[in-house]
């Protein structure tokens, strides 16, 4: 009866929706993908000369990662996740408008900064400013992403993660690094390693918690 009473409540439908989203994301693959992505971007920034055309590969890879994220993760999930917890397609609600604005603004800066560095000839101060701006923007992406995750999952712990991401971004922006690009490299590498480790830990726990279910075996065992 309690369950029936609950199902008549809008708040509980939202709670069930968020719980289902958390359930479907508990494999840690998203975190691993994001973490590795940050490490790759840090490596590109470190290994390319800021004034060379090779540096343009960083926004290109950034965009490719966003485009191919879903098909790659879907392929891995079909092999690893769905045989364990089942397949579910959740409703893809867009983030709320304020979150979307911050996210788009920050992503535009991150994607446009390397291009601007290439195209506009300028002095060292200009380059340093762009690096500082990229740190603040990445911090903004992290806080916007955390708000989006809180909306989807109902888990407020993501706020702490976003705030920490933004705070460290601001701190790194205020610090002086030599060369200046070392700031973003350390920032992205640090967060990349942390997020990848969190993802791997979650993934290992997930594998242990949920054994593969063979539908044929289950059906046969019940008969």
């Amino acid at each position: 009866m309690k369950q029936m009473l609950r199902m008549s409540d809008n708040a509980d439908i939202l709670e069930l929706k968020q719980e289902t989203y958390r359930y479907s994301m508990q494999d840690g693959l998203d975190e691993i993908f994001v973490g590795l992505g940050l490490i790759i971007v840090a490596w590109i920034i470190e290994s390319r000369d800021i004034r060379s055309y090779g540096f343009l590969s960083s926004p290109v890879i950034f965009i490719l990662m966003i485009v191919f994220r879903t098909p790659i993760l879907e392929k891995v999930r079909r092999k690893v996740t769905y045989p364990r917890i089942g397949y579910v397609k959740v409703h893809q609600d867009d983030p709320s408008p304020p979150v979307m604005v911050v996210l788009l603004f920050a992503i535009t800066i991150i994607a446009a900064a390397p291009l601007a560095l290439m195209v506009i000839p300028s002095d060292q101060f200009y380059y340093d400013t762009i690096w500082t701006l990229s740190l603040v923007s990445t911090g903004m992406v992290m806080i916007a992403a955390s708000f989006s995750y809180v909306e989807k999952t109902g888990d407020r712990r993501y706020f702490a993660f976003g705030l920490l991401g933004m705070t460290t971004g601001l701190i790194f922006a205020l610090l002086e690094f030599e060369p200046p690009k070392a700031g973003p490299v350390f920032y992205l590498l640090g967060w990349g390693v942390v997020i990848t480790l969190v993802g791997l830990t979650t993934f290992i726990r997930f594998i242990h918690k949920y054994p593969i279910i063979d539908p044929d075996e289950v059906e046969a065992s019940e008969q």
């Binding site: 369950q3 029936m4 009473l5 199902m7 008549s8 409540d9 439908i13 069930l16 929706k17 289902t20 359930y23 079909r78 769905y82 045989p83 364990r84 917890i85 089942g86 397949y87 579910v88 397609k89 959740v90 409703h91 949920y210 279910i213 539908p215 289950v218 059906e219 019940e222 008969q223």
Partner: protein, 104 residues
């Protein structure tokens, strides 16, 4: 006793009112689609129980069942139909009315 209940709440959809089917309907209501393993995990029902309830819901036109092959193995995807969504919304509305009518 049953007659009294029916008089008080004539619009309650008996098919959805059953706890196991309510769980299935609620779970499918908050997603676009899902498979059997997902529903089994989420509802804690056995494979046989789930199949039986699914058949009833499918017969009523509340859920649609699509079969596809993944790695040469059959894979069944389930989703609420428009009729199923409307029935679940209507059930919730009726239940809310019933609750509102209960004196504090």
């Amino acid at each position: 006793m049953n007659n009294d209940e029916d008089t008080r709440s004539p619009d309650i959809d008996r098919l959805i009112h059953e706890p196991a089917r309510l769980k299935i309907m609620a779970q499918l209501y908050v997603v676009e689609s899902a498979d059997f393993i997902f529903l089994m995990r989420r509802t804690q029902l056995t494979w046989g129980n789930l199949s039986s309830h699914m058949s009833k819901l499918e017969t009523a036109g509340y859920i649609k069942v699509e079969k596809e092959f993944v790695d040469k193995k059959p894979h069944t995807i389930l989703a609420l139909t428009e009729k199923g969504k409307a029935a679940f919304q209507s059930y919730r509305k009726v239940m809310q009315q019933v609750l509102d009518e209960i004196p504090e």
